[in-house]
Assembly symmetry: C2
Homo-oligomer: 347 residues x 2
DNA sequence: AACGATGATTAGAACGTTCCAATAAAATTT
DNA sequence: AAATTTTATTGGAACGTTCTAATCATCGTT
């Protein structure tokens, strides 16, 4: 059994008694060949255990059928959801997405992009790793390979971006907290080397400004975008002179961390301290208390990104419109019961 | 700017005033070429914005440098952790892993495998989707491409498997519960079309048997391997005549679901009902109460799988030893305080 | 000064496909 | 029955690499 030298299109041709050209035509489902011939060829293909060599084909064909998805942190379910959305669209288009993980490491990202490029991908969807240098994608752009950013963007670049409306989401969430009667607010987690951070923080600050929360009553704590980071943020905040009574978190992971830290202190999210997350991952709904969060339609953004990519490939362009996805605030338990305009917020 | 027809090795040769062979040699870092020549060539490569065409190269080279990782559910952090472990060792070996998601869908899996194969992968690491038909990998085997299963196995197949010691893990966990004084035990979640399920359930039953828990006091509830599934399991169990006081869950996701359902009923995991998970995902430690779980060293298994794969590729064989990873029980809060041999277990 | 070594470089034949142009066969028109 | 169109099939030249064998310098040796 096994590999007596990989079968090629010529082996099939011999087996079926036709020319290699005919086999090739059958392979691409051309309508030119006579049905009986096609059947004969297909049988031969089956018999010799042939596997198509896309590398060889791509040598002649203009475009390959694989696109690369470069994700900065696969262990974050958020990105996994994004990936799932894209896969749906690509599958329907007969395109195969290969996922590569950069683990938030720019060097690794470099390697991964190089490999994908060498493999001859038709396009690239990237959520750039933190600390990506501005010029990192110059190479790819000059190679003429279409590329879009998803969820994250780079400060300068003219590469099209698919992202949720971070600013608006933060405004929505902050207004919600203020309307609940909170007067001392915190923004937890994230770090300023991410563009997203500035967008979300910006929305938070704008809402505070507009609804009359003075700068002195806003607390901003940077931190890791993880459960652990969230826990640390809460500790820092509670240690402050006049601690906040509510927090908007950079993302859901941070929010979960904050809730855990609260429970450790025998405080209840919602009742004793309001917390709102961002992204609305699947888990938010099932947590206890259920997490109020800004829903960004992750899978939808994934689909959008995939569509944009397909269009770029099809029209062989490297330019496309940005796409800012609508967001909605999903109010659940963690931001407190709806007791209208309350005032008491003593520590 | 952009693609005035992709640069090739010949363009470089022209630019540098050498032959294509020389360029090729430089590309593979051969020691044969004179250093000054190499420098000249490398400069030319930079100048023309060349990108290596691996497809063309693979036409001549025996082996490609990409291996495929086929994962059945990317949104489960457990598999993401597995992937991360593999990536570590592959990266070190200069091999690029491409990840593809099957979303637990055998048809999708078929497509994904086909694509990977056509792409000319050097090997395949697969966690087979549920419902995979026995013959699904025949094709790959006869193609002579090395393949190993990770975490899951197929009933019949002779493909090497890397998996934790599911049986022993279940025994450990069950013994722990019984030693805590529980006399009516449940096994929650999972479905019998998975080999893993039988292994884990088998361990549970064996421990019950050995430590004298009669069959009448064991409750087995199949269910989805997700939070939701876990919640459903608990409801079913509590509705029973003589409900159990402790449960071993098929995996951590199920365990989290059980804990959530408990909280909904104002019961506390650990105090009112003991729950033990399986896999020990990162989250288990941070949950509240922290989840007692069987640690399987996920990343370690990933590394192991990667190593086995590399060895198979290197020795051009398609056979390898199975590898059963050691497991340990990590006792935390959810299985209850350590109050020794207690007896009271009235509903 | 002629000879082998040794070191660098290169021409040219693969590799497995696609696709154009050419051919052959069958069907249709004159 | 010849000429034309249509329908199927095919040869052969790409595509961008690698690799073997050959060529060409350079350098010691005798």
């Amino acid at each position: 059994m096994a590999s007596r030298a990989k079968a090629t299109i010529l082996d099939i041709a011999r087996e079926a008694g036709v020319s290699k050209s005919t086999v090739s035509l059958v392979l691409q489902g051309s309508g030119l060949i006579r049905p009986e011939t096609a059947v004969k060829v297909r049988k031969a293909i089956e018999d010799v255990g042939y596997v198509y060599n896309r590398g060889a084909a791509n040598l002649r064909k203009a475009h390959s059928n694989v696109i690369g998805m470069v994700i900065n942190d696969l262990t974050n379910p958020f990105f996994a959801e994004l990936a799932v959305g894209m896969e749906r669209v690509f599958q329907a288009a007969g395109v195969v997405p290969f996922i590569a993980n950069t683990a938030e490491n720019p060097v690794r990202q470099e390697e991964v992009l190089k490999s994908l490029l060498e493999q001859g991908v038709a396009g690239l969807i990237v959520s750039p790793a933190r600390g990506t240098v501005p010029g990192a994608f110059r190479r790819i752009e000059t190679a003429g390979v279409p590329i879009v950013f998803a969820m994250r963007r780079l400060p300068d670049s003219r590469i099209p971006v698919i992202t949720p409306d971070n600013h608006r989401g933060a405004v929505l969430a902050t207004e919600h907290l203020i309307r609940k009667g909170h007067r001392r607010l915190a923004f937890f987690g994230g770090s300023s080397d991410l563009v997203v951070y500035h967008e979300r923080l910006g929305g938070f600050l704008e809402a505070c400004e507009r609804l009359g929360i003075p700068a002195a009553d806003r607390l901003i704590v940077e931190g890791e975008t993880s459960r652990k980071g969230g826990m640390a943020c809460l500790e820092t905040a509670l240690a402050a002179g006049e601690p906040p009574t509510a927090a908007l978190c950079f993302n859901d992971a941070v929010a979960f961390g904050v809730m855990l830290a609260l429970r450790r202190r025998n405080l209840e999210a919602g009742a004793d301290f309001a917390v709102v997350g961002f992204d609305d991952v699947a888990e938010a709904e099932h947590y206890s208390p259920a997490l109020t969060s800004v829903a960004v339609d992750t899978a939808g953004l994934g689909e959008r990104a995939a569509h944009v990519m397909l269009k770029m490939i099809q029209s062989r362009t490297t330019r496309a419109e940005d796409h800012i996805g609508a967001v909605t605030l999903v109010v659940r338990e963690s931001s407190g019961p709806d007791r209208g305009q309350q005032v008491g917020d003593a520590a």
